[in-house]
């Protein structure tokens, strides 16, 4: 994997040049957003987030928080409503999409208030002092529930949780289905997940009241169409929102598009606080409430001939976008619209697309963006067709592939595939990936009685999104009214300075992809200089730089669009330089040659000018060069491919410019005992057009592959039935480590794109589309049962195994008590006992005395007796990484003094809520009293999300501390009775 360095000064593009980005990053001198120099009066923001998935906000009391020393300002939904407008929604709907809850919270983790303080620690202290009174509403959690009209709508004005539905028909799908030999269908569910970057969101904002303008730096990744959404939300013209990005960004994978609602909040916070404000999201916030892929239900049916040829597809997709249809959604659903037939020549397509809202975090960009959802259905179906028809899956794939002589190929749904030789790439993959050997291996493994399977996926990877594709969600008549949207403007600027050195700027906003390195190569090749002589800037300042709505880093647009545009800008400079040189060298323009840092006459290398001298000429001696148009100083090119036209009247849409091809196959073994899947071999073949930097292309493939391993086996933003998020830490949301990610065999096949200046296509997202389904097909092959959902956890695999789970080895003892999850949230049960040197009556009295309880309950601030059988306590306790203050209400019933009692109670706090009941019994023993207890409870909110797996242990610890204190108290004075275990648990557990 040694990448080597390009030698000499020949063609640099296409070689694996060492990255110019690396040295600073390796030395810890990167410039990420939280590393940038800060204004001396900078304040820090923390965001209070909803602990309820769905509730009305009865009141927000910020009084105590405001009084905390160091707090500068507190912003609530009311302030945001007064100072801004809702975020524009991409579909005409009476839905107000605010970046903060106003009157009602609709997802767990939704912002409710923002504190601006002298530092983050104090800001978080103040969050604890804000009191929110919620009136919980039933949560709509699944897309099925959203489709059920009996459930209440999240947005009353919309009136339904089904917020958009469109049906499409291309060709004649009805006739094709009627004539088909077979109809084969599959229903699958794709989960919520996200390629969470290791750097979280960050925003630094300031407001100038004199010019009524905002200046924001954020690790936003684009698309900069969002700049228009932000300006409108902040109620300023576009030129009064200066949006900048830091030079380095710690990964994004689409996810950092989702920082934009927070940009509005922090910009407003800076305005209210009258000082610059910084907000760095923490990991718990990120996992809870940043952004994720959509979860989607798909039923896909194919009309199939006996030989496996598909003549029609019928898609039924239900897209769950979370609580709001937040821009650019429903883009995840429409990004693939031109590609709904994948790599196959299928002339007839019917599509029913429904978009629903649920009480979950709103969705957004994520690596693969719509592709994983589409291909999980399409390639599972292709495999199922082979199984049902008794055909070789490779034969079914091959029979349906678009033939090489059909390019450029117009798909049924309107995409124009630029180039490819899918069958050629498939054959090369089978040959170079040693497919025959894998088949033999499967036979051998199965002969040993092992569970071994092979899976495949053929995928078309779109890149360079058409900015108009989302408008396919509108009817042709609505589009006509709204005006056409299309294209994908890329920008590049090449400038010469007075010493004749070359600078490049693009608005590509990378998050680690190495754009600066590649642009150095591309521009150096055009100008005949060394890549090291080219300085490249890739971050964006909307006030100074060339940019457009398509700017940013998404839809794998760098190699095909941005680097190609840089080449065009360099050529424009070169052509001007050539004209100047021609006069000086006494040759025609055509005879001017750029190479080795010199500009010379073709065929006469001695007749030459140093490049730097020529490049500086327009600064020092413009009068000798001619008119303005001839000056070679700075050239900016805006490039948009003509193929990216608006959706047509028949709803055909060329949703992307470029279409790469991927063919993957793999062999997996399943461990019978555990349900663990071991990837034995993985081969991935890519045709991404002309390769600009082999090392980076492989880097994209490896990274996407690792992300796909997570999606296939580990990662899911799981929610309880009550809407509580269950995956709020990296201990619950499992990102694969080196131990889980094998090294794939990577193969390449190059068919240049005729639509891009360098022939390159995107390559960043393909494995997120191909790998999860290839693995699911392999697992299905091993088990002989079709996988219909992800992630393929060991328990899911075990449930699919036809064979009974092997008996537990004798050496293994089962856990003493496996807590059964109650309905939604985290279930918690426990029991125990303790002995005290006191009589039952003494214990009983102690435990009904608020003053005593306040002293012995861990973290207790006060206990008040509301009535003889109702106590209210104010406690602070922590579970795992979260610590907070709770109001706990406990009511006693079935009181049999001094022998037993039943307790039921609730706990509410900013970090979560809980409810449950317990029993306490007191028995006399020779030495005193034995107290025994049991409890059963459900915990929701942040506690369940981030501390879930720690709850049982924390509950035991708190109960233990309580008994210790009780024991001390009892031995000192009196004691007796009943509720401690329960009460202490409630205080401790409900954290």
């Amino acid at each position: 994997m040694d990448l080597g360095v390009a030698a000499g000064s020949g063609r640099h593009t296409g070689t694996s040049r060492l990255r110019v980005e690396d040295a600073a990053l390796l030395c810890g001198s990167g410039k990420f957003i939280d590393d940038l120099a800060e204004p001396v009066n900078l304040a820090h923001a923390a965001i209070l987030r909803s602990s309820e998935p769905h509730a009305l906000i009865r009141s927000v009391n910020v009084g105590r928080a405001r009084e905390l020393p160091g707090v500068h300002a507190i912003i609530t939904g009311e302030d945001v409503r007064n100072l801004s407008s809702p975020l524009v929604v991409g579909v005409k709907l009476p839905m107000e999409c605010w970046p903060i809850a106003i009157d009602r919270v609709r997802y767990f983790g939704e912002p409710v208030a923002i504190v601006v303080a002298c530092n983050r620690y104090v800001a978080e202290d103040a969050l604890d002092l804000i009191e929110i009174d919620y009136e919980p509403l039933p949560a709509v959690v699944t897309p099925q529930a959203a489709l059920d009209q009996a459930n209440p709508p999240l947005h009353d004005a919309v009136g339904s949780n089904l917020v958009n539905e469109r049906r499409f028909s291309y060709g004649d799908p009805d006739a094709a289905f009627a004539a088909a030999a077979r109809r084969i269908a599959i229903s699958v569910a794709y989960p919520r997940n996200a390629v969470t970057p290791i750097e979280t969101y960050g925003v630094v904002a300031r407001y100038d009241p004199h010019e009524a303008s905002y200046d924001v730096t954020a690790n936003f990744q684009g698309p900069f169409s969002i700049h228009a959404v932000l300006s409108r939300a902040l109620k300023v013209p576009g030129n009064r929102l200066r949006l900048r990005t830091p030079p380095d960004s710690g990964g994004s994978f689409g996810v950092k598009q989702g920082v934009f609602p927070s940009i509005v909040l922090i910009a407003l916070a800076a305005r209210v606080a009258s000082r610059p404000v910084k907000w760095i999201e923490d990991r718990l916030e990120h996992l809870t409430a940043s952004v994720s892929a959509t979860n989607r239900l798909v039923t896909l049916e194919a009309a199939v001939e006996a030989d496996g040829r598909m003549t029609a597809l019928s898609w039924d997709q239900v897209e769950d976008v979370g609580a709001y249809l937040r821009a650019p959604e429903p883009a995840t659903l429409y990004r693939m619209h031109g590609n709904m037939t994948g790599a196959y020549a299928i002339p007839n397509v019917a599509i029913r697309n429904r978009v629903v809202v649920t009480n979950k975090t709103p969705t957004g960009l994520n690596r693969g963006f719509g592709g994983p959802q589409v291909y999980f259905a399409l390639e599972r179906l292709t495999a199922k067709i082979a199984t049902e028809l008794g055909l070789d899956p490779i034969a079914v794939i091959r029979r349906n592939l678009i033939p090489a002589n059909a390019f450029p190929y117009r798909t049924a749904t309107g995409a124009l595939y630029d180039s490819g030789d899918y069958a050629g790439a498939l054959d090369a993959a089978l040959r170079d990936g040693r497919y025959a050997q894998l088949l033999t291996r499967r036979d051998a493994m199965r002969a040993q009685g092992r569970l071994y399977g092979i899976g495949h996926a053929a995928v078309v990877e779109p890149s360079v999104s058409n900015m108009g594709y989302v408008s396919t969600v509108m009817t042709p008549a609505e589009r006509m009214k709204a005006g056409p949207k299309n294209g994908a403007q890329a920008t590049a600027t090449v400038a010469l300075d007075p010493l004749g050195s070359v600078s490049v700027h693009v608005a590509s906003v990378p998050q680690g992809q190495g754009h600066r390195t590649v642009l150095g190569q591309v521009v150096a090749d055009v100008l005949g200089i060394r890549p090291d002589d080219v300085q490249v800037v890739t971050d964006l300042d909307t006030a100074r730089d060339a940019w457009s709505i398509a700017s940013g880093n998404y839809s794998s647009r760098f190699a095909p669009a941005v680097s190609g545009t840089a080449k065009l800008a360099a050529e424009r400079i070169r052509d001007k330089l050539a004209a100047i040189a021609a006069a000086q060298l006494n040759v025609t323009v055509e005879d001017v040659n750029f190479a080795d840092g010199k500009v010379s006459a073709s065929g006469n290398p001695d007749n030459a000018i140093p490049f730097g001298r020529l490049a500086a000429a327009s600064h020092w001696a413009p009068a000798t060069i001619g008119d303005d148009a001839a000056q070679a100083l700075r050239e900016t090119v805006y490039w948009t491919p003509p193929q990216l036209s608006a959706p047509d009247a028949q709803d055909g849409v060329n949703s992307s410019l470029c279409h790469g091809f991927i063919f993957d196959f793999c062999g997996v073994e399943i461990e019978r005992e555990t349900g663990r899947v071991v990837i034995d071999r993985y081969v991935t073949m890519h045709d991404c057009g002309t390769i600009l930097h082999p090392g980076m292309v492989d880097g994209q493939v490896r990274g996407g592959f690792a992300n796909a391993i997570g999606a296939a086996f580990y990662e899911e933003y799981a929610y309880g039935a009550d809407g509580a998020l269950l995956a709020g830490t990296f201990a619950d949301y499992l990102v694969p480590t080196v131990a889980e990610v094998p090294a794939p065999d990577i193969l390449h096949f190059e068919t240049a794109s005729p639509f891009t200046p360098l022939g390159a296509k995107g390559v960043g997202e393909g494995n997120c589309m191909s790998t999860p389904v290839a693995l699911a097909n392999a697992v299905s092959d091993a088990l002989g049962v079709g996988v219909e959902r992800l992630p393929m956890t060991p328990s899911m695999i075990r449930a699919l195994c036809s064979e009974a789970e092997p008996a537990r080895p004798a050496s293994v003892t089962p856990p003493a008590s496996a807590p059964e999850p109650a309905t939604g949230g985290r279930g918690l049960t426990g029991s125990g006992d303790a002995r005290f040197p006191a009589t039952r009556q003494e214990l009983w009295d102690t435990l009904l005395d608020p003053d005593t309880l306040a002293r012995i309950i861990p973290g207790c601030h006060s206990v008040a007796r509301v009535s003889d059988t109702h106590f209210r306590a104010d406690v602070t306790l922590g579970v795992g990484p979260v610590k907070g203050r709770y109001t706990v209400d406990v009511e006693l019933s079935d009181l049999v003094e001094p022998a037993s009692a039943t307790l039921s109670g609730t706990a509410r706090g900013a970090l979560g809520s809980g409810s449950g009941h317990g029993h306490v019994r007191l028995e006399e023993t020779g030495e005193g009293t034995r107290l025994s207890y049991d409890y059963e409870a459900r915990v929701g909110g942040k506690v369940a999300a981030v501390g879930g797996r720690l709850l049982d242990g924390a509950a035991r610890m708190v109960i233990g501390q309580f008994f210790k204190a009780l024991g001390r108290h009892a031995s000192k004075a009196s004691g007796s009775s009943s509720m401690p275990g329960w009460l202490a648990w409630l205080f401790g557990g409900a954290r």
């Binding site: 390796l26 990420f32 620690y121 390629v195 290791i198 992300n707 480590t737």
Partner: protein
């Protein structure tokens, strides 16, 4: 043992990459925050603040540690090394850093500081650590960009150069 007050700052002094540093910290201030905000050593990154991602890994008294799970006051009198101390001199890279660059073992570079510190510590402690040990140590880090394999290869390459004394790159 000194008693610390919740509301007051305490002097904190330690050696950072060979130079003395000092400042004041509330008892609850994380060492990661202290390094970044008080010492200006922003090369150590914070990725999760609950000890899982490994981005904030540094060396305290020769042992690798999560700076997000360490309080600044715990560092009093310690010897601390961070990513800023790895390069032999400005403008040059260490053998391990060079290997990372050669093998494309980083993309965004955000998790990289922690990984470098873990591997550097491993090679100091166990110069003969094999691939299994290397993978074991890397298992304590999350990286979203690289797919890990280039990191493993860079580590193996660097280690073999360090062992053979062939540090030319």
């Amino acid at each position: 043992m000194p008693r610390l007050s919740r509301d007051e700052t305490t002097p904190v002094r330690f050696t950072l990459n060979g130079a003395p540093v000092s400042g004041r910290a509330e008892p609850r201030r994380l060492l990661s925050d202290f390094l970044r905000n008080e010492c200006g050593a922003t090369g150590t990154h914070v990725g999760c603040e609950h000890g899982v991602c490994g981005a904030c890994t540094i060396r305290i008294g020769g042992t690798m540690a999560r700076s997000c799970l360490t309080l600044a006051v715990q560092a009093e009198g310690a010897t601390i090394e961070t990513v800023e101390g790895l390069a032999p001199q400005p403008g040059r890279l260490s053998v391990l850093q060079e290997a990372f660059r050669r093998h494309h073992a980083l993309q965004c570079g955000f998790c990289t500081a922690g990984i470098l510190m873990s591997l550097d510590t491993l090679f100091l402690d166990e110069p003969d650590a094999g691939e299994v040990r290397i993978r074991d140590v890397l298992g304590g880090h999350l990286c979203r960009c690289t797919g890990y394999e280039p990191i493993v290869q860079a580590a193996i390459d660097a280690q073999s150069r360090l062992r053979s004394g062939n540090t030319d790159v």
